[in-house]
Symmetry: C2
Subunit: 457 residues, 2 copies
């Protein structure tokens, strides 16, 4: 099967239209997408126009966003209007929002009234909200309908709906009053009313809420679809399980990239297609910012230049001290950011988190202090020491600094994301390199102050 | 609704049995789990024994693993056997594998033959494989069954099946030959055979394959369930969409923790419940290892002690140089690890990735070099310089080192995960702090060698 798709490009170039149609029709559209994802947009366009409408829509909907836009720019207005009319309601809104105002304005009149109204409604929600992620293709019935009638209605509506397995019950005001499943409807006596079999403890989210929260809710309750409502509980749409999965993968890509100080749009699966220039723009901001912050460490070192000149051995432990603090801070920051993202750490847990990190860091700091003390004592004996300064005193200064550094870095790493979360922002903006660079500064201050104090330099 | 559950603990303590049953019966089991997750195991046990069997099973199955074990240890053998018999086939295998051999051996005879056989089969797959994540509660029919008969069979089997929406067609050898959906069966003419409506391009995974690969396959094809087969295509079980979602969240937690040099089991949602001692054990290994590696940087500094003594200004740029290299390396490593995890970067892309990172790092290194050169020229003039060394020469040495450091760190960050992946390991083991510490060493070598060469120290 795979081997045959590899001939697709060749067949297309030789204009073997029937063979191209046969190949694409015999496999899942996603497999075709996999093969054509690195083709030229013009070739993809040629392939798409050959396909029957429903296969074209499926292939197109599965293309990455940037490729969709390149292909769209090659389509005639009526082709595009037909494609958009066929697309799932949430997919087409995503596409339209990426088009220029001009193209969109030109296009809308060519789309049928019903779809236009649907697009208008779904487009009204800000990107990243549950409203923007929902589809309007779900089934809603009156709670008084019988199971037998419900099956008849589902049969009629199924071809146009993304999902018919969750069935929502709404009252005359379209307020959500219950939910049931096709499974329960099939199992119920044909004369039973939906209201007799439905679950009235409906899990839902509001349209303006974060799409990540919506996806996590769907995950928590193992739902197939999650209803989206307005503040009066009116049913607006549903988020499907596959979209929730995509949202969570996308959000996690965003989290991991933010934590590692990478900017940009955090789209999934665009590493290879992004130009070096785009990669440069996504990374240089943080790098320059942190280099500037890193120079503050330089000023600290310059300030203590005379301490360093008297005891250059101190310079040998600077990298280890800075690294270890950065590592400890990154660890605690990562665990706290992850706990917050998964909803495990809540507002009321702040003090408990900090106390826990304090305990952990005391254990870590103590062990590391002992190790570094032994290191200085046994492996730094051949270094030149100023008169009156014993090696064990140097060891003590290094060990004490390291202990304080590990404890303070760990707690800084935990507090920063908690604070950011407290102020309603995404804690993942606390990039681990920022913590690393920041605790370099505090670490050097701790180090030289301790050395000056203990060794009298 | 929420308010009433808050009284649950109080009602339980006052032995208001009927009220406890009513409260738990009126909401989703997950909401009960949310409320009881921080109770004492003994209280949870008391609550569970009061519940009707199907609610008890639902609540118990949704508890975190460590709590499940604590509650189980309080159950009588027959209670536990009944609970296990009621649980979904994949959930109970997970639980049994966490019990001690003794408890399990004692328990199995109390479980009915059919369930015991099912447990034996599912337990035979190693943890982390598709086989270990699958459930045996799916529907498989002969391709010759008609749509009408299929609906009748589904009605009969639905109560015992986790999912009836995907229907698999198997031949006499139970080999998977096609898949269809309840939706398509309902839409088909009652006399149509399954083989006429089924899709023969079945997406499946083999039981020994990685569960993460299985979950990503389900995501790629927007499936509700993914069939798991053996090497002869015999259908063994299915992975459901909600389990795939849990797997991906779990795998991403694992990835992010590994990248940040955190050890342990990487379970989701256990930050608050883990003891400081357990946290210490998960983190100290990497910290000590990297501190030891960090001391190598110390040896490098000691080796160049005389260079440093002649020009202490060099020490001021050590932290910035080390940090920036670490940051650049972490960025490229993160993007490559993520690209590999999502399957976007493939084996054949290695050289293209390295060339891309080379281009990106040249851009970044050039800009940073210019900035640091200006910094030295305009803000370090008051430092003591040895005779014969002009400030612009120092600036040139620092700038050149920084440029080389950024390029080499970025490429090291990209190559290491590619190599690990090449040898079949999880690229996320290349922890970003390890890269940071490693490029500290290379960075200092570059720095002092360049300074010595350019400035003749």
């Amino acid at each position: 099967m795979k081997a045959s798709l590899e001939k697709l490009r060749e067949e297309l170039r030789q204009n073997n239209t029937m063979e191209v149609i046969r190949l694409c029709g015999s496999v899942r559209p996603q497999k075709v997408v996999d093969v054509i994802a690195d083709w030229e947009p013009e070739e993809i366009h040629q392939l798409l126009v050959l396909q029957p409408a429903f296969i074209r829509t499926e292939i197109f909907s599965n293309l990455p966003e940037d490729l969709q836009l390149k292909v769209v720019s090659r389509m005639k207005r009526d082709q595009l209007a037909a494609l958009i009319t066929d697309m799932a309601s949430d997919d087409r809104v995503d596409l339209l929002q990426n088009l220029s105002d001009e193209v969109r304005e030109n296009l809308l009149p060519a789309i049928a009234q019903a779809e236009r109204e649907d697009i208008r409604q779904l487009s009204s929600y800000a990107e990243g909200t549950a409203g923007a992620a929902m589809t309007s293709e779900y089934v809603a019935l009156s709670p008084d309908v019988t199971a037998a009638d419900a099956i008849a209605i589902l049969r009629k509506e199924a071809p146009d709906k993304e999902t018919i397995y969750d069935v929502y019950a709404v009252n005359e005001q379209r307020q959500l009053v219950g939910v049931t499943s096709l499974k329960d409807i099939i199992l119920a006596p044909p004369s039973a009313a939906i209201k007799d079999i439905m679950n009235t403890d409906v899990i839902s989210v509001q349209a303006h809420e974060d799409q990540e929260k919506a996806a996590r809710t769907l995950q928590t309750y193992d739902l197939l679809t999650l209803p989206v409502v307005d503040e009066r509980q009116v049913l607006l749409g549903v988020i499907t399980h596959d979209d929730a999965l995509d949202i969570l993968v996308q959000e996690q890509t965003e989290d991991i990239e933010k934590i590692m100080a990478i900017g940009g749009l955090h789209e999934v699966g665009i590493y290879m297609r992004q130009s070096p220039w785009q990669h440069f723009r996504n990374r240089i901001g943080w790098l320059v910012g942190l280099a500037v912050l890193g120079m503050v460490s330089g000023f600290v070192v310059q300030t203590f230049e005379n301490v360093l000149m008297q005891l250059t051995l101190l310079a040998a432990f600077m990298p280890m001290l800075a690294d270890t603090g950065g590592n400890a801070g990154s660890q605690s920051a990562t665990l706290v950011i992850r706990g917050l993202a998964l909803g495990e750490i809540k507002m009321g847990d702040f003090l408990r988190v900090i106390f826990k990190e304090f305990q952990v860091s005391l254990l870590m700091g103590s062990l590391l202090s002992v190790l570094v003390f032994l290191r200085v004592l046994f492996f730094a004996g051949d270094s030149t020491l100023p008169a009156g300064i014993a090696l064990w005193k140097v060891g003590l200064a290094v060990a004490l600094s390291l202990g304080i550094q590990v404890v303070s870095s760990t707690i800084i790493g935990a507090i920063l994301p908690l604070l950011v979360h407290r102020f309603g922002k995404d804690p993942a903006v606390i990039a681990s390199p920022a913590i690393t660079t920041f605790v370099d500064i505090t670490g050097l201050l701790i180090y030289f102050s301790t050395a000056r104090f203990l060794l009298g330099l």
